[in-house]
Symmetry: D2
Subunit: 410 residues, 4 copies
Amino acid sequence: MDFAYSQKVDALRQRINDFMEQFIYPHQQTYREQIAASGNPHHHAEIVDELKERARREGLWNLFLPDSEHGAGLTNLEYAPLAEIMGRVPWASEIFNCAAPDTGNMEILAQFGTEEQKQRWLHPLLKGEIRSAFAMTEPDVASSDATNIQLTITREGDEYVLKGRKWWISGAARERCKIFIVMGKTDPHNPVTHQQQSMILVPRDTPGLTIVRSLPVMGYIDNEGHCELSFDNVRVPGSNLLGEEGSGFAIAQARLGPGRIHHCMRAIGMAQYALELLCQRAAQRVTFGKPLIEQGVIQEWIAQSQLEIEQARLLTLKAAWIIDTLGKKAARDAIAMIKIVAPEVQTNVVNRAIQVFGAAGLSDDFPLASLWAHGRTLHIVDGPDEVHKRALARSLSRPYISPKTSSKAP
Amino acid sequence: MDFAYSQKVDALRQRINDFMEQFIYPHQQTYREQIAASGNPHHHAEIVDELKERARREGLWNLFLPDSEHGAGLTNLEYAPLAEIMGRVPWASEIFNCAAPDTGNMEILAQFGTEEQKQRWLHPLLKGEIRSAFAMTEPDVASSDATNIQLTITREGDEYVLKGRKWWISGAARERCKIFIVMGKTDPHNPVTHQQQSMILVPRDTPGLTIVRSLPVMGYIDNEGHCELSFDNVRVPGSNLLGEEGSGFAIAQARLGPGRIHHCMRAIGMAQYALELLCQRAAQRVTFGKPLIEQGVIQEWIAQSQLEIEQARLLTLKAAWIIDTLGKKAARDAIAMIKIVAPEVQTNVVNRAIQVFGAAGLSDDFPLASLWAHGRTLHIVDGPDEVHKRALARSLSRPYISPKTSSKAP
Amino acid sequence: MDFAYSQKVDALRQRINDFMEQFIYPHQQTYREQIAASGNPHHHAEIVDELKERARREGLWNLFLPDSEHGAGLTNLEYAPLAEIMGRVPWASEIFNCAAPDTGNMEILAQFGTEEQKQRWLHPLLKGEIRSAFAMTEPDVASSDATNIQLTITREGDEYVLKGRKWWISGAARERCKIFIVMGKTDPHNPVTHQQQSMILVPRDTPGLTIVRSLPVMGYIDNEGHCELSFDNVRVPGSNLLGEEGSGFAIAQARLGPGRIHHCMRAIGMAQYALELLCQRAAQRVTFGKPLIEQGVIQEWIAQSQLEIEQARLLTLKAAWIIDTLGKKAARDAIAMIKIVAPEVQTNVVNRAIQVFGAAGLSDDFPLASLWAHGRTLHIVDGPDEVHKRALARSLSRPYISPKTSSKAP
Amino acid sequence: MDFAYSQKVDALRQRINDFMEQFIYPHQQTYREQIAASGNPHHHAEIVDELKERARREGLWNLFLPDSEHGAGLTNLEYAPLAEIMGRVPWASEIFNCAAPDTGNMEILAQFGTEEQKQRWLHPLLKGEIRSAFAMTEPDVASSDATNIQLTITREGDEYVLKGRKWWISGAARERCKIFIVMGKTDPHNPVTHQQQSMILVPRDTPGLTIVRSLPVMGYIDNEGHCELSFDNVRVPGSNLLGEEGSGFAIAQARLGPGRIHHCMRAIGMAQYALELLCQRAAQRVTFGKPLIEQGVIQEWIAQSQLEIEQARLLTLKAAWIIDTLGKKAARDAIAMIKIVAPEVQTNVVNRAIQVFGAAGLSDDFPLASLWAHGRTLHIVDGPDEVHKRALARSLSRPYISPKTSSKAP
């Protein structure tokens, strides 16, 4: 047991921190202004390309990919602390070509894609030339239960035909988003419910695919856009199927592990950043004759926040380590745990920071309000907290349940 | 002791509920569309005037004013349950001419205004012809401590000259907002710190008064607008002073009691509405073979929410009763209590409802996200929760502190 | 709506407060010493009889009984604030002949007892000559679900024969406890599950009835004793049946309403007392240069505690008012609410007080540790919190559930 | 970074687990009976000596001591997971001669003791022949602030004379407790407040030293005894001073680090044990047609409990690792963190387990009630939670505070 980052990781942390200090934090205003000036909330800000070019030149590129053929060859445990740093500013991950949902999409394309699919979609993604989206959630059903999915993918001759609706498809509104990986049912009546689903690649300009709208999230229209999509007899060639028919659920599972590590580490980065902002502000503001930072209740918040962050960080690093050493399946409980904890810590800490900032914390003069809104979504996306708690409890309960006492409820 | 609403109140509740059912709930979409169509988030939606006219005809007008000369002559205890119902939809209070900040402004104009001031500002407000704003909070200081106020009001001949900045001035962006009641310091060096402040009336079109911007609140640009204002040598006649020089703090205190009852009851109305939406949704959505409403964790939320709401409601009604029977000063602790409790209940319940709605709850397809954002502000406006807890604790502590053990800290 | 206690209640509150000040608080040490000196934790302390005689002479006697033939004829709403005051010291209620479980037992004897039963048991109870117990909970089943009860009551000729075990039978170890009201099944196969149970009177010295042991509660052996009982072919005459065969569940329900008001008000009295102790201590102790009572975190606790207490008090008073005005059935939700809230408030506040007292708060030098232990039991006795939350949620959910969406689960 | 226990640790964990399974868990009843039979709650149960002998033979002895001259030579990180396992049963640590307060006392004797002191006290302690106590806390002052200590240690010729009182001196009532390490002031007017204190060795039978009483803890009289002591002109030779005059505070600090790791890991062991008991019970009990373990609220508790435990465990292991690699001073924040977190997790989880057990959980038929009582003390002993939160916050705040903004408050 050893709690030190390796020298390699420490060096990378240093380089990314330096990059953030030099090029990201100082350009937050530039970024916002370029988007505002464009009149399009989903505009690809010019500063992004400049900085991507720089990061790529410096070799800070595709760090998330453990596969050293395509990426940096870092383990999940090595990449996790880097994701934390990038996570402090919402648009920073893209600069290093480490932004969701592309990361997960690149992973499954690398793992399950045909050569043709790799050539056409994976390589431009790896180069940061295009963006992508992952379309799973649907509006009319509780998507936390994957068997509820209703979009149909029907084979007709050489083609597949898609019919249905999706929503909350993040990144779909981005100017450079060119490809959607879509989950649907190819075999809706298969008695093995987890073999009903398939994944398929749908280029954005395919006829019948409409972006109905970009949904606001707790008041915010994000740059990435969380879109509602309509699939009206969308036809794609049979070769667009990702993996085999019926493998959709398995691919979705494969996609989840590392992606959740990234998500959680980014959330922890946000919480740490918010705590630093909290401390800065509390040191400056004076009420009742004392700086806030010397007042008991604020001290309690600072201590409690650091406690929560440090624990969540260790838990997430351990989950990454389990994936690396024992595999994704062995990490299932650990991943459920961080999926529950990280959003909670993020919203707790950001909420306290907002309170310390007072009304300023509610505005967009500081990143806290938008961080909070993003954190709130984390309690729901990829399954609400309650579903993960249930799954975790069921897994932990297994040794205690004898066949006799267990009721037949699912 | 009697927990029944009077017949008079029950009749009014019935009438307002009916009005909401017939004219407000069904027009929520109309209201949003009219504002969206105007291209101005602070647009005065046409439906508002139609419904105001109707409410006025039906005598559901100025219900908040205990002064029967100008208003309905209801006690605070009688009005409180009506405010709860109106609070369920953010723009409903205005329909009955019961919207903040006009209500508090009308109260202090009625109480402290000269005949000329009443003629010019109070009467159009009572008729619902104009709107108003109350300008107290400032950007550079912790405004929870009123002695921090920095805007200066200097007598020069027959005029007063205002210099300084304000922000989070709610309602200032409204098309019909015509008059600002501004708090500043006329006597910044008065050793009695609570006699340094005065209030003064500043018409919106006075030269030197600039609306710098409308601040977003947790991502939302509200219809009312929470504005940053700049006062650059703004000159108004001496007759615009409200009350006497040095009475600003006292008038602010006078304004607070009933206003906080209204605020809190509206927050409770929002919570009750959110709980009803939660239950509706939970009854419809099925996961893991059962409607959400029959699942243990959701049941816990429902029970806990109703518990919190009912307790906060009783506490607020009691605070109103204390104001009516013993006066505002005697109600100080009770008002501090509800100012702490009501925002907490509102955000707790709305947050649970959002979770039950899943991603839909984050969007603006339902009113939950915007209700949450509004509730979040209630933890800060009129003093953050912590300041009220401190004040309450200090008041409760008084009997236990002997002069010897008390340190001299403020 | 009126939040003032009536003059009658105020006068009674004054008299009971005076009695507590003069005779109860100063004798807490005497009480403990007399029990310790006897060597029997269940000893009837001599001071109790002295004070009972005095309370009876003063007419502060049987205040709980709304039935003016036997008791004071107070409504539940009138009695509730008196129960709060008595609840501040665990043995004070008995002084006024208002102690559980006798109160509930007297109520059902008055309501359902035959003349003979009243003569033999109710009258000595009303005079405070004997004590009683109520035997419902069983060791081997989850008693929160009444249909689980296993003790059998079998008719044999003129007699009933009881077989089974009970535990947590409070008061059974008291020296003067002479009569047990026992719940069991007379008709265990009745398809109407709530008609399987009956209640029956079992004198303590009946052969076959054994007090197996007195159970400690969170480390404490209470004076009342929470006993495990064994019924080995216990025979009582048929005339000992309370009410009719099959009416046990209904009588239990009838017993619950007012008893829960009493319980909850006593819990609130404990919390208020603990808060007063907290403030006293916090005013005396100095750390880091300031009395605790002036430190932010302690102020937060004081404010929060008073908030919780005042809200729970109002809710409980309202529940009492509903019983008085609309009946027990209409009060079901309100009673579930207070049964959830009052224990929570009691343990929250007492826990904070313990923390302020430091190690002293853990000891028996102050009443806090034993108050906490008692409060902890309230989360479980008469049904655990979760069962009441579930019941409350199901009741609140009813309007939202259509026959179609409801699953058949109970 | 590596989250795996070393092979050496894994082997030791296995051996201690096996020992617990074979010899400790099955003898919990024996232990209680032997103490009960003796009539003395502080009796040294016979089974303890039997098992100590066995553990010593097996080499499972003095595992806590990193000093390989006297102990097992394990690092803090290696010992921590063993302390967790031992912590599951309150009297298990003693079996391996790893029980507090002896562990901390042996550490400081080994580090600061003279040869004579080691011969006379350290060696019998290492052999497990005697027990010891550590006397710091005092009744009349807030001992969380060490400068408050009032017991005086005055040099008179060759001797020191002690006058004062102590309380909550754990282990002082044990039959075999032979030596007290006492903290007092040798130089109460030293302007350097942290050089006023010294530590001195006082044999239990020294005239003038009286054990006034053994204090109950949340209703429990522990086997170890938490005693109030009176020092009335207690005289000991000058050679009994531990370290130098004025070094008392420094020695106390030196004692704290590893001791807090042990405490926290034992608390985590208790929480883990309670969770296992919770799951067992929840799998057996059925309400409303389903085992508790399949009900949503219970599942929530299971998930939440495991989450809290695993996070606290990682944090504590990291703190141990910091002590080992960077030293006690560098570990100060980490140790403050675990001192806050571990008690909270313990009481949270044990409290949930009690609720699942229902009334049985309140009794001593299961270890939960006494575990809870022990856990409650952890929020207070070695400084209340709030003091550690304050210290942690002040440490974290330092980078943000400029000399100008900082007030002079301590």
